[in-house]
Symmetry: C2
Subunit: 118 residues, 2 copies
């Protein structure tokens, strides 16, 4: 699951992995996350690294923590909605840049969509 060739930090890879599982519906509300220690052993990394990943996920609203018990998946449509907004934000940023340089936004978007459909 961890790709050491990948330049992205381990904690980020872990976070993204579970973010994906949750958004896709492979994990549901209140499902327990693996314990910090257990996952650290599995991934042959340090509990702190896992913890950093979990902290990130918590900040972004994907999981919640109960001291002494564990981490659990936070459910609801809010998650999907938040994720959608994240993507929307990025999209707006890029399009704003394009607009600054007088590019034709519609044309740009259509071209992009075209490349994906295939």
């Amino acid at each position: 699951m961890i790709d050491y060739q990948d330049s992205r930090p381990i904690y980020e890879q872990i976070a993204d992995h579970y973010k994906r599982l949750i958004l896709v519906g492979a994990m549901n509300e209140n499902d327990p996350m693996p314990s910090v220690r257990q996952l650290a052993v599995e991934l042959a990394t340090n509990p702190n690294t896992v913890q950093k990943a979990y902290a990130l996920l918590e900040r972004e609203g994907y999981i919640y923590t109960v001291r002494g018990k564990g981490n659990f998946v936070r459910g609801g449509d809010t998650l999907v909605e938040n994720h959608k907004n994240e993507i929307l934000e990025k999209l707006v940023m890029i399009l704003k840049e394009a607009k600054e340089f007088s590019l034709n936004l519609r044309e740009l978007v259509d071209e992009a969509l075209g490349r994906i459909e295939k």
Copy 2:
């Protein structure tokens, strides 16, 4: 021109500044760039930092260097075209992610465009 509050490195800010000037047409083909040493003095920074910015601009095709003479703006439509492609790439990346999570691309794009028009 340099914003020390900005977390982005100085050399990147310099590069972006001139990239913008060139793309917008404020600088034209074969216009001379300020000399490395001169610009360093102006910006109260180090010649090496400016050089790093110029090296970046050269790698990306925005300027060309003539040993002993200086750096000059590389012109032509290629630049605008390249920049457009850069943006297009980013756009495709984001939309691909959105698609993975079964988001409605058209809807997403329209929402983004809507936010910009204002």
